[in-house]
């Protein structure tokens, strides 16, 4: 195929340097926006998804499948369940059955003026780590029953203004009760990173409740059908079973409006930046209507000229957008975002980079279109007559 030399295309970019830079800036902003939006959505997906395992099921109160915080089941359920369902996973004699209570409670550093926001508190027992393998105790120890002790995820601590590395021994007030932080945990990219954990019995006492929220069970030979059969045989317990995966998928679905909003806003803003960049390039090129016609007069087919313009636009827009993506990663990579389920980490992954580059291509195509449509619409004799 007939093409203009690449080197000439490159040199074409050195004229109208101001416009080239403007276009570079436009696609840089567009690339950064899109990469950041992707990182935001990816981070949220990861936080809600990394915890989920296909072998785990959540047994909760019938009718409250969408929210563990609203779910209530009898405190006897875990015992009845492990006696009734065969084939639950065991490690060193301990069944992977975690009775849990999930509540959002006002929390603050002891001595602080007023409670900041609500903390996500999980009442747990010894089996909790078995069904939450992403969680690691990074400092201190497990909280003891009846000793007013609590442990916390790194981002939960940061949210209260406590440095995780010096958190041990700090005191907080949870729903009016003073507690000592005896351990720190980490579950990067998972919602647990934003949670407070304390013994199940303590939270039950603190809240004066008689129920728990749910039981998380890790199945070995048993299937979710076995657990369903159990709940159907004990309709009096009013239980529902949900695969952990489905639970997190429904959470993700709950956040769909937010996610769509983020995507749409980022896309619109990126589009504005992209159009700015593209029109700067197009302005530079529309002065070349006559030059394009001259190239055609010399014998270059139009596709060679269009390709040359597209190539120049691509070089500017794709490099701008890719740099934008990298810049966003450098600026915002690892940043924690708080949302009602805790926190998540912005995920600048391959998808974010790829989307930034794709954004660059889109800018290039828009710019090439804007740059050539006037020339394409003009017969060569008229294009030669333009000044």
């Amino acid at each position: 195929m007939t093409m203009l030399p690449l080197e000439y295309s490159l040199r074409g970019l050195t004229r109208g340097r101001g416009r080239t830079l403007l276009a570079l800036a436009g696609s840089l902003v567009a690339g950064a926006l899109i990469a950041t939006a992707s990182a935001f959505l990816g981070g949220m997906e990861a936080a809600l998804g990394s915890t989920a395992s296909p072998s785990r099921v959540i047994v909760m109160g019938a009718g409250s499948e969408e929210s563990l915080e609203r779910s209530e089941i009898g405190a006897r359920v875990p015992g009845i369940l492990s006696a009734s369902v065969q084939g639950i996973r065991r490690t060193a004699g301990m069944e992977h059955v975690s009775a849990e209570t999930h509540v959002a409670l006002p929390i603050m550093v002891e001595g602080a003026e007023a409670a900041s926001d609500n903390g996500l508190v999980r009442g747990i027992g010894p089996a909790a780590l078995l069904v939450h393998p992403v969680v690691r105790l990074t400092g201190g120890r497990w909280p003891e029953r009846g000793a007013s002790e609590i442990i916390a995820g790194a981002s939960a601590l940061r949210r209260l203004g406590i440095d995780p590395s010096t958190a041990l021994g700090s005191r907080i007030v949870l729903a009016g009760a003073p507690l000592t932080i005896v351990g720190t945990m980490q579950a990067p990219g998972s919602t647990v990173d934003g949670e407070w954990w304390m013994p199940l019995e303590d939270i039950t006492t603190l809240m004066r409740r008689e129920t728990i929220s749910c039981v998380i069970v890790d199945l070995d030979r048993a299937t979710i059908g076995d657990v369903q059969a159990f709940t159907l045989s004990r309709l009096d317990l009013e239980l529902a079973v949900l695969a952990e995966r489905d639970y997190y998928a429904s959470l993700l679905a709950f956040f769909a409006p937010v996610r769509v909003l983020v995507a749409v806003v980022a896309t619109l803003m990126a589009l504005a930046a992209a159009l700015g960049g593209a029109s700067a390039l197009a302005a530079a090129f529309s002065e070349r209507v006559r030059e394009n016609a001259v190239l055609e007069t010399l014998g270059y087919p139009r596709h060679a000229v269009i390709l040359d313009v597209l190539l120049q636009c691509t070089i500017v827009a794709v490099s701008g957008a890719a740099v934008g993506g990298l810049l966003a990663r450098w600026l915002f990579g690892g940043m924690l975002v708080e949302f009602s389920m805790g926190t998540f980490v912005l995920q600048f992954d391959a998808r974010a980079t790829l989307l930034a580059v794709v954004t660059g291509f889109i800018v290039a195509i828009i710019a090439a279109f804007l740059s050539t449509w006037r020339w394409i619409g003009l017969p060569t004799p008229e294009a030669l007559r333009t000044t």
Binding site: P5, Y8, V294, L295, L298, R302, P379, T380, P381
Partner: protein, 228 residues
């Protein structure tokens, strides 16, 4: 056979609701190796005719054969390819690519030809030499005078060794000295190489350099006169 053969060539433009016959059943033959000046009042269709001969524009009706090719049979891309092999075009305002050096401007049309790099280099050097610009290879258009720019443009038109050299008021933007230099160059090309030239001009003294003058008036040939 003539190099150019126009039979009953028409070019109409729609202007408002009115049809303007810019070229009106024009008959014209131009011999291989001839040197023709095309004259006529402004708006008489000189550029239009040149553009038809170059395959840049299309006739509304009539027959046009250039170097044996019926241009009406070729599509836009084929015309571009044909042009790169048969036609050199010189504009009044030079139309050099501003970011390319004199050498690169001259090389540009040759890149469409299947030549070795060495052969291409040889031809570019030779073309620049033939327009007396052997020492200006690396100059950018803005570093050249108008006369020099036009000579680069002529080298660019000639480097592919086209059968037909078309020039639309090539001296229209030049002072007397530079215009004479360009005319001397055309004269040499015609005399020494037998280059076929069709040149549009307003200027009688420029036209007198050609072998014959063709006058366009109201879309037809007014007179054909031999200058020498």
């Amino acid at each position: 056979m003539s190099l150019i053969d126009c039979r009953s060539l028409c070019k109409d433009y729609q202007r408002g609701g009115e049809v303007v016959h810019v070229l009106d059943h024009l008959d014209l033959s131009i011999e291989r190796g001839s040197y023709t000046a095309l004259m006529g009042p402004s708006g008489s269709g000189k550029t239009t005719l040149l553009n038809l001969l170059a395959g840049i524009d299309r006739a509304s009706s009539g027959k046009l054969l250039v170097d044996g090719t019926d241009l009406a049979q070729l599509d836009r891309n084929q015309l571009a390819g044909w042009r790169s092999r048969h036609v050199g075009y010189v504009f009044q305002l030079y139309n050099l690519v501003p970011v390319l050096s004199a050498y690169e401007n001259v090389e540009l049309p040759l890149l469409l030809h299947d030549l070795t790099a060495a052969e291409r280099h040889r031809r570019v050097v030779e073309a620049l030499e033939s327009v007396d610009l052997a020492d200006r290879h690396a100059h950018l258009p803005r570093q050249l005078s108008g006369g020099q720019e036009q000579r680069v443009a002529i080298a660019r038109a000639l480097v592919t060794q086209p059968a037909l050299l078309l020039a639309d008021e090539p001296t229209g933007d030049l002072d007397r000295t530079n215009a004479d230099a360009v005319m001397d160059l055309f004269g040499r090309l015609h005399a020494q190489r037998g280059q076929t030239i069709v040149m549009v001009t307003h200027d009688d003294s420029i036209a007198s350099r050609a072998e014959r003058t063709v006058r366009l008036e109201k879309g037809r040939l007014a007179t054909m006169e031999a200058a020498r």
